[in-house]
Amino acid sequence: MSGLAGVRFWRETKSRYNLTGNRCGVCGTVFFPPRPVCTRCHRESIGRMEEHKLKGTGEVLTWTFVHEPRPGFEIQVPYILAMVRLDEGPALLAQMVDCGPGEVRIGTRVHSVFRKIGEEGKSGVIYYGYKFVPD
């Protein structure tokens, strides 16, 4: 793990911390993470994508309890991953925290919180970002 691994994630800080996505200036579709080109308007949207901060509210589309973790996530096992449909339209994948197995259902309303996602070992950069909790 090099000292520069943090740089790859630093570029997306605005999106990771503040759920900043973007919006097509032509058709109004909201995207998260932000896209260079609108998936509907294609070429017409070039140069017309506007920064758009999402509220962080939405509902659970599906979820799972992960028992076999990715390295670095062992201490959180079992952790909940959920696909969340944000109110503005886009869906994203995130962990759900501060809830037990019975409290997550398809359709549960959720909102985002700021948490530690991981770190590059004990001496490396710490990654922060969004997770979701039930309303």
Binding site: Y17, Q76, K116, I126
Partner: protein, 352 residues
């Protein structure tokens, strides 16, 4: 120029461990320990919570309930003794997370349990001198006590943010003063995980001396007595000291209790007084006068004379953001889970 509080926010993690469970593991007296210390349970951060995340949540709540936009906050200071980085300020990450970057000054503060109030004083100076309109002061900690040590019962986690300004105030700060010395009552050397303390030396020559002196200085400066205040908030390393120092200064227990959270959540160090203040602001009404004296080992006290004003009634102080809700919203864990979450268990794999 009048300087005061524009908004505030708090964050207390959900997990709690009872003093009884800790005592059971270390062969101390489970039923007695809570009463002895005045601490019955303490807050424990989850594995994905740290001073940065707690500070961000508290700051975001303060921003959400205020008419102030992120880019109007020109200072962010975070006081803690458990910043995740020894070098790389928590304040910078918080600033990014509240949309205050890049036009602001930021830094991390350390002064044991009074780093949060020291941050408040700095913000007051920046605002009061006309250098800026709004500054955010945060006290946040995820402090650790050595296993089996007396401090393990109380060292806990929490954060509170105070947005300081001169416009849109919900409370004015009439006066602040401090009392600072070089006193070796409690310290932690660089690189050490757990602090050390001077046992009973942390009482009279440390906590009591500074709070008494500073508190009296404050009341002298503004010509008040204990009876002028509705509430009195003191640093709370346990549930006993604040009541005792209050009594010595002439305050009554009813004035102290609303701001005394240690019995339920332990000592949140740099967040202790800010959280006590937040709890009081949640229930205060316009005209209430609040006496605050913080204490940080090493040692020093910061005192504040605060008066709540009319605008507090337009702030939403109910719901999940209220300090009382956060205290009630708890999940009890056992010592093994607590040890795992707090990294007290030596894990396998390469250590770097």
């Amino acid at each position: 120029m009048v300087v005061g509080i524009v908004s505030y926010g708090a964050c207390i993690p959900r997990y709690r461990i009872s003093s009884e469970d800790i005592a059971r593991v270390w062969g101390q007296n489970p039923p007695l320990i809570g009463k002895q210390l005045g601490v019955f349970s303490k807050s424990v951060p989850s594995s994905d919570e740290d001073v940065v995340t707690l500070a961000v949540e508290a700051a975001r709540t303060a921003m959400r309930r205020s008419p102030v936009a992120g880019d109007m906050v020109n200072a962010v200071y975070v006081g803690s003794e458990s910043h995740p980085y020894a070098v790389k300020p928590t304040a910078g990450i918080v600033a990014e997370a509240i949309g205050a970057t890049p036009n602001l000054t930021a830094a991390d503060f350390e002064f044991a349990c009074k780093a949060g109030t020291a941050a408040m004083q700095s913000c007051m100076g920046l605002v009061g001198s006309g250098m800026m309109d709004y500054g955010m002061a945060i006290g946040a900690d995820t402090s650790q006590g050595a296993p089996g040590d007396a401090l393990e019962y109380s060292a806990s986690a929490g954060a509170a943010a105070i947005l300081v300004g001169k416009k849109n105030l919900i409370a004015t700060i009439e006066h602040t003063c401090s009392y600072t010395t070089d006193t070796p009552d409690f310290w932690r050397r660089e690189g050490q995980i757990y602090p050390q303390h001077g046992g009973r030396f942390t009482g009279a020559p440390a906590y009591f001396k500074h709070i008494l002196a500073c508190g009296r200085d404050l009341m002298k400066a503004v010509s008040t007595g204990p009876g002028d205040y509705k509430y009195a908030i003191f640093h709370q390393p346990n549930g006993k000291f604040p009541l005792r120092v209050a009594e010595e200064l002439g305050f009554k227990p009813e004035q102290v209790r609303p701001g005394l959270l240690a019995p339920e959540i332990g000592n949140t160090y740099s967040a202790a007084v800010p959280l006590g203040l937040a709890a009081v602001l949640d229930i205060a009404v316009p005209g209430d006068r609040i006496f605050v004296t913080a204490y940080g080992s090493g040692a020093g006290s910061d005192a504040f004379d605060i008066t709540v004003v009319e605008a507090i009634n337009s702030m939403d102080r109910t719901g999940p953001s209220a300090v009382r809700s956060m205290i009630e919203r708890k999940v009890m864990i056992d010592y093994a889970t607590y040890a795992k979450l707090r990294g007290k268990i030596t894990m396998g794999g390469a250590s770097r």
